[in-house]
Amino acid sequence: MDCVTANVIHQEEVQGGYQVLFLDAPAIAPHVQPGQFVHVRVPHMEESVLRRPFSVYRADGPVLQILYKGVGKGTRTMTYLRPGDSLGLIGPLGRGWPRLTEGRFPILVAGGYGMAALYLLARSMPMQGIAFFGGKSAPDILCVNEFEALGWEVQISTQDGSRGTRGIVTHCIDAWWQAADLKGRQVEAYACGPNAMLQAVAERAMARDWVAWVSVDRNMGCGVGACLTCVLKTRTPDGGWRWQRSCKEGPVFECRDICWEDE
């Protein structure tokens, strides 16, 4: 974990308002584990006291990529960043995706920036499984070529049917599950996306004996475990619950650990 000033190498729009930001961050990029995030101080936004968290999309040598969309004040300001600008970066932060359990079959489930948050995982996996990508419409489906280039099968669903199957991502998953011949393997799922998507994956995982890891999205303050903003309710062995910090113990949790009834 380090706190640095990173120069913007370049920035490009991918599609549907999604941007990829390339940063020169030699003190951070090489240490990133799949599923970890960086905490960004957006420049020209003095009115804001908080940083903004982003999953690391790619880390190649000193270069770190973030894939994001302008949804609010901070992310919209970020779209103006140009080569030569610089920004503050803390990272890598959080506990990323655990390794695939020996003998399990990996599936990835993603919506929105979740596709970016899963890319490094897909790249580092010992075997390729299936990636289920869901979104409202075709422009929300990202990185498909990249995942396919890694040898992953990508199944796409959009709510308006403009790309892939019409419907939500769990329809695809269920259809696949009905037909799947996993040759005795159990599934290990990795999901990042809207909360409803995570919960739907969790339900299936619990019903079908999958291991399922979900990366949660909580508003963050410090990003390092100090402020206790980003907490989420997790189950304790005694049947009770306790807060865990999604920036420190998370953002990835096994779905059984989360008190979904409080989400």
Binding site: D2, C3, E46, E47, V49, G221, V224, L228, W243
Partner: protein, 292 residues
């Protein structure tokens, strides 16, 4: 203290959280997140919301309890060359006394900051900080309970902070710290619900700095014990303002979230300033406000 710049309670965890990013030995002191006798879970989510140049929070003082804190964090803190100030709170006078007594025996605790002013405790802790009689009662009780250095932390939402400062001094406080966060409220207009689960919260950050400077000035003129200036420090200049109006030390809060090394930069900036102005020490600067 090596230097007059501390990190404020609740904004720097219990020490380990920022230790990879900030050399703790460069801090004047580390004030840990508020500790009560019993472990507490704190408020529901969401706990913070951004406002214009500020942060609204209602964390609700989650903490592992006094014994839990000592067990989990004091070994780490004792290994570092930084004075540890424990911020304590309770829901009743008895709870304050209990936790104060307990820390007297704990090695490595430099002082107790007595939080009588957190706006986010519903059981009545807020009242300790704005009702002069209750305020006196809790401080007298805590004073009798421990010989440790006692630093009451004052609430900003009073008409005359000098009265509270004097009362604290009369109760035997060794220093004062102020301000705690300012009671405030933010509403999500689409849902018409509060942005924080606790409904109201405490406002902190640069937005409140000018009002903190005013209150610190008022308090510093009212007492002889040292005052610690807190509220909205993000730059060395912000800290210098507190020192100039009479604070002997300062604490950096919210700005550590924005920039973890803010406190260290403030230390360096104060040094620069003292050199530029040919001042031998911070003492030479304290209270040099020219206001007539």
């Amino acid at each position: 203290m090596k230097n007059p710049v501390m990190v404020a309670s609740g904004t720097f965890g219990y020490g380990p959280e920022y230790a990879e990013l900030v050399d703790l030995s460069q801090l004047g002191a580390l004030v840990v997140k508020g500790i009560a006798w019993e472990p507490t879970r704190g408020n529901e989510n969401p706990r913070t919301a951004e406002t214009a140049s500020g942060l609204l929070n209602a964390i609700g003082l989650p903490n592992p309890g006094a014994e839990g804190f000592v067990r989990e964090y004091m070994p780490f803190l004792r290994q570092h060359d930084v004075p540890v100030i424990v911020n304590i709170w309770g829901r009743t006078v008895e709870e304050y006394v209990r936790v104060a007594e307990y820390f007297e025996g704990i090695e490595g605790v430099a002082a107790l900051e007595v939080n009588v002013s957190c706006p986010n405790i519903k059981e009545g802790s807020a009242v300790f900080g704005t009702d002069l009689d209750l305020f006196r009662r809790v401080l007298d009780a805590v004073r009798s309970a421990t010989a440790l250095t006692l630093i009451p932390k004052l609430a900003p939402n009073v008409a005359a902070i000098a009265d509270f400062a004097k009362a604290a001094e009369a109760s035997g406080a060794d220093a004062l710290s102020l301000i705690n966060s300012v009671p405030a409220l933010a509403v999500d207009v689409e849902t018409r619900r509060p942005k924080l689960a606790n409904v109201t919260g405490g406002l902190t950050g640069p937005a409140i700095h000018p009002l903190a400077v005013k209150l610190v000035w008022d308090a510093a003129r009212a007492v002889r014990i040292p005052v610690i200036g807190i509220g909205g420090i993000a730059t060395p200049e912000d800290a210098l303002e507190f020192l100039i109006v009479g604070a002997h030390a300062v604490a950096v809060g919210t700005a550590s979230f924005t920039e973890p090394r803010t406190a260290v930069r403030v230390v360096e900036g104060i040094d620069d300033y003292l050199q530029r102005h040919n001042m031998a020490s911070v003492q030479a600067l304290v209270g040099t406000f020219q206001c007539n």
